[in-house]
Amino acid sequence: MASRRRKPAGKAQISLVVNGEPTEVAFSPHKTLLEVLREDLGLTGTKHGCELGECGTCTVLLDGQPVLSCLALALACDGKRVETVEGMARGAVLHPLQETFADLGAAQCGYCTPGFLLVAKALLEENPSPTRDQIKQALAGNLCRCTGYLKIYEAVELAAARMQGEEAEAKEETLYGRR
């Protein structure tokens, strides 16, 4: 445990690299990574859903791997890299996945979106041109109540194509439905 600086009594302190930035944070030892991100670091992009491990909306990348922050103790993350949805854009420039999710309407209420974006980001870093089946498998731990998943899969495919340098556009049918 990083205890170089003085920490408040009863609290634990750890160092994290959050979205590229070295951070020290103090909190009660029984808090989850989800709670520390939202309550102690003010990063409310990571959503609080079922807290049972069933919905995936609390997903963050821990040392590059998707994990459920509702089932991770923050103390167990000392020294690790955490990436949340807040870290995906570069200033005002959205990540290609954020762009295609917005363009295709792959988000409706949006509650599931941070989790989907991060899992998809990790997938494309490992496998830049996944098949539809590989996308489905990678996203199997994330629940969406609104979209029916189709637009999410298409948004991942479109972002993958663009990140490979193709000048891909959304399909007419995806944007306007079948005519």
Partner: protein
């Protein structure tokens, strides 16, 4: 919100064992993906979480000198599923790990935690004073029993939730355990405890003991293994009915091996009836169907899980036919 506890990251096995021995409220934590759920639901008390993640040597997969494999308890499920040696020599274990939970949970859950996880019965996890928690009845008997056991129940009717455990029993793995009195090895088959032996525990582990590794013997010549699992959802779910096979073949004929069921009983359930039905035979349609029927001969369903009997017959039959063709 989790209830309050203190947290220690042990840096050696000795330290972890000492911490567990000196404090009745101490609990082992590996990935935490099952433990945190239990603490949130107040399934048991915990005043101190002892994390194993700072202990060297508990992670990774390596060949043993006699041609087997050892898997460190802290190896993630994702790493087990992806490991080339496991896929080549013990495909049944790789399949079980690859079909378990969701991708995120496979990244954070460990194999040690997976074999030690607590039952998923909704009464046990919920706000019920059930037999396994020190109460007087199993509420599934008169209540909602869709996901409960059909074999091995006695007083309590949970099923064991692990997918890796039946594969490890089939493959004749051994669990290495460290505790106050040193280390010991227990065959996976003897690691679990049925309710009629002790309804308050799932495994032979003492509170001060830690699983350090799982050792798989060198696969015998002609050994094939597989894991088949039926679940209610396509995306992920626990097994409604599953079967782990590790069979030795001579030509087309089964000469020895194990058939182990998941989702059937409070422990991984070795079906000696199914084994007897196939040993010495070729796995044709009649033999496979007979094995499925034999496995369910002693099954006693509760009010709502009778569907499991034909489901098991079907999945056992399918799994046997598939491994016969492999």
């Amino acid at each position: 919100m989790l209830p309050k506890f203190s947290y220690v990251r042990a840096t050696s096995l000795d330290e972890a064992v000492r911490l567990l021995s000196s404090d009745d409220g101490a609990r082992v934590c590996a990935g935490g993906s099952d433990l945190l759920g239990c603490l949130r639901d107040q399934v048991f008390e915990c005043s101190r979480v002892v994390s194993l993640t700072g202990i060297d040597g508990l992670r990774g997969i390596a060949r043993t000198r006699d041609g087997g494999v050892r898997i460190g308890a802290l190896t993630t499920i994702a790493d087990v599923a992806a490991d080339p040696t496991i896929n080549q020599s013990y495909p049944g274990l790789a399949q079980a790990a690859g079909e378990l939970a969701s991708p995120q949970l496979r990244n954070q859950g460990t194999i040690g935690g997976n074999i030690c996880q607590k039952p998923r019965c909704w009464y046990y996890r919920g706000d019920f004073d059930c037999l396994r928690k020190g109460g007087t009845t199993c509420h599934a008997v008169a209540g909602e029993s869709e996901f409960h056991c059909i074999l091995g129940g006695a007083g309590c009717f949970v099923v064991h939730p692990s997918d890796t455990a039946p594969a490890l029993v089939a493959l004749q793995a051994t669990v290495r355990i460290a505790g106050r009195r040193g280390t010991r090895s227990v065959p996976m088959e003897e690691f679990y405890v049925l309710p009629n032996q002790d309804v308050r525990r799932e495994t032979v582990l003492e509170p001060h003991e830690i699983v350090t590794e799982i050792v798989l013997p060198r696969p015998a010549a002609g050994m094939r293994s597989s894991y088949h699992k039926v679940r209610a959802r396509g995306a992920w779910d626990f097994a409604l009915a599953g079967v782990a096979l590790a069979l030795q073949f001579s030509g087309n004929r089964v000469t020895a091996g194990r058939v182990v069921l998941s989702g059937a009983a409070p422990t991984p359930w070795r079906s000696r009836e199914a084994e007897e039905a196939i040993i010495g035979k070729q796995l044709d349609a009649a033999t496979a169907a007979a094995a499925g029927r034999a496995a369910m001969e002693d099954a006693v369903p509760l009010r709502r899980n009778g569907y499991k009997i034909p489901l098991f017959q079907g999945v056992i039959e399918e799994a046997l036919l598939a491994i016969g063709r492999a």
